[in-house]
Amino acid sequence: MVTLYVDDLAVSVEKGSTILDAARKLGIYIPTLCYHPDLTTFGGCRVCMVEANGKLVTACRAPVEEGMVVRTDSSAARQVQRTVVELTLSNHNGDCLTCVKDSRCKLQEVANYVGITPERMAMLRSAVPEVEVDESNPFFKLDRTRCILCGICVRTCQEINGVAAIDFGFRGHKTTVVTIGNKGLAESRCESCGECLERCPTGALARKDYEQPSREVKSVCPYCGVGCGIYLGVRGDRVVSVRGDKDSPVNSGQLCVKGRFGYHFINHPDRLTAPLIKRDGVFVEASWDEALDLVAARFLETAKHYGPDALAGISSARCTTEENYLFQKLLRFLGTNNIDHCARL
């Protein structure tokens, strides 16, 4: 362990930790933009600048040293932070109210901390370049006027899912995030997993039809056998979002396109909402009593006339474990072992 002092508070952290780790352990806020705990450290934005033993260093990269004295609020550090934030804001789309990330935006948070006044802002603001928004992906858009070039999406796509669909392209002040061959996201090798937009600190990568849920319920993805942990976002009586459960040992918060965006079947108008009985070849709505009495009568009749093995049941790999249990129990109560499911397939 290494002991150091951040803003006069002593803290002991593992060797190899960074100043940022030490500060966070103390609950001291250091602004960051390009840092993300899931990813390798880039150290490019320089907004986490602090003074350590009298020298300016980036807190996300600088390793702790025994007896180190760190000042997060030295005037030199503040100077750098302010410059970085002002430069970033100068060509950032200022229309915050229509941005889906408004009030959850990392850039707003950091600007607030650094203390950018409206007057200063008005002076700084140069014309925001006209760049077309990439709307090609059906689930999310890439709005480069809100991009701060932190590279979190680029690293996510390399390190989290290993797709590497996007990277920095062009040079100097023209630098932007591009796909291979600078095609639209939908035409690129992007797999629409949405991992990048989950981590994007601003509204540059954002969901299209985003509705903020009013509560969340922990559950499991209904698609493939991986069984990713999810939170279903609910608003009123509708499911409006899905996000990965970071604490799940299965997926550590990660999801694929189906799990993250494929929830529309739940609220779909085609859902069956009443029992149906076929009469003269057409389905007519029936009450539960009518339908269930009919089914029970036909099962019992069949078993009586032809023996219980004239009954058969196909259970479902999509229903719950408990439901599968009851299903086989019912068929076996009726006297047959003719039970299977489509898992052989």
Binding site: N161, D293, R318
Partner: protein, 537 residues
Amino acid sequence: MAGLATVLGSGAMTNTIGEIEDAGAIFVIGSNTTENHPVIGYRVRKAVRKGAKLIVADPRRIPLTEICDAYLPLKPGTDVALLNAMTHVILREGLEDREFIANRTEGLEEMRRAVEKYTPEYAAAITGVPANDIVRAARLYAGADSAAILYTMGVTQHTSGTENVLSLANLALVTGNLGKPHAGLNPLRGQNNVQGACDMGALPVVFTGYQPVANDEVRAKFVKAWGVELSGVPGLTITEMFQAAADKKVRAMYIMGENPILTDPDANHIYECLESLDFLVVEDIFLTETAQVADVVLPAATFAEKDGTFVNTERRVQRVRQAIKPRGQSEPDWQIIQELARRCGFEWQYESSRQIMEEISFLTPSYAGITFERLEAGGLQWPCPSADHPGTPVLHVGKFSRGLGKFSAVEYRLSAEQPDEEFPFLLTTGRSLYQYHTGTMTMKTDGLNRFHEEELMEINPADAKVLGLCTDDTVNVTSRRGLVRSKIKLTERVQPGVVFMTFHFAETAANLLTNSEVCHIAKTPELKVCAVRIEKA
């Protein structure tokens, strides 16, 4: 998963998803992991970034082949020849784990004799994979400290599906890659709760936890607990059920949450079988193709509208929680089943899924320690035999459930259907990243459809040229069982002589074409290989 149970005594993923990342080598066979199990695909890619050797065996150039160390493009249905040859190389070069073989296995000599003739050259002639690559793959696999095998339906959906799994087990046993972390033999299950359905005895021959119905002691236990007489006669498998329906032996059928008209092979046949039933009840969330044939349709709730558990492919029992109330008059399946049971004269009184789980743990040794209370803190991997047992991430540590791991002497057999002059192409089927199964759920999300809206049969450009076909042409695909129309996509992903379709779309229903010939041991239909003719429509 009959294959695994025979040799090891259990038929589930032996290891845990999280371990894949640190495997020394990964052998992916018949699994398009990044599209069908994407989050496991992320782990495989990460393992490769961390230095794992990746071996991919697949007739199609699936995305993982871009980052693999050895690619084995075998002809569909020739897995046993390939795997036997890899084992042959390992034994010939002395790469086997002698200590593990001596202490933990039986039957090596018999297996050794069986793989004797499978020299890489011999296998190359059958599989189409260059002999050198087979040797290299065997060395990569055997050379790693720990090597994990990942496989799916690509391996089991063959008439020789069980043999495929047995020869994979030989490979894992001979190199000592079982009963330790970052290794194992890992079937990746397709649907969210296949594992749970199997565990719960939604199978014709077993009760919960794979307790055989034919075993008198087991049956006595269930008779006592349930208070009814129980049949010890093994029931019919799904394929047999449909045939029995056609033969008027099965008269009434109950289908819960499945759409066999699209998922089962030979869709015309299934449709006719269902039509010949006296009575069919289907319980589902949508009016599926199968529901349309029913006499009664019962509206079920989705996973978001009920409590319960799903068991994932690594045997992890996890809680599903109700988020909203069921739509309209729909009801959770467990409540529907219970109501039906009551009307059949059974006094069932379950108030919740939690209460059902209590009964499951009471009757199922591998679930004995699993309760909803414990699941609140996170999932539990079975076997979990007691309330204080932490669950089992890695199976077969120190000992196999059957005692010793058993080598099997397995011979390569030709697939039931081979291409001939009349039907010169091999059709294989699978899924895409953006759709799931029969699309009942995914096709309700417009964005997913935008990526994969209609069937595009994949065909090699060389074949297309011979047939005079261009991209987006529509073709008639004919097998001995039926005909479907599909647009085509020219791609080097498939090798010459092979075409690929998904089974997501009702309009093209590739399963109209496929073969219901079943694996003679596990009764898994041969969905993966069938012979077809391609003509411009």
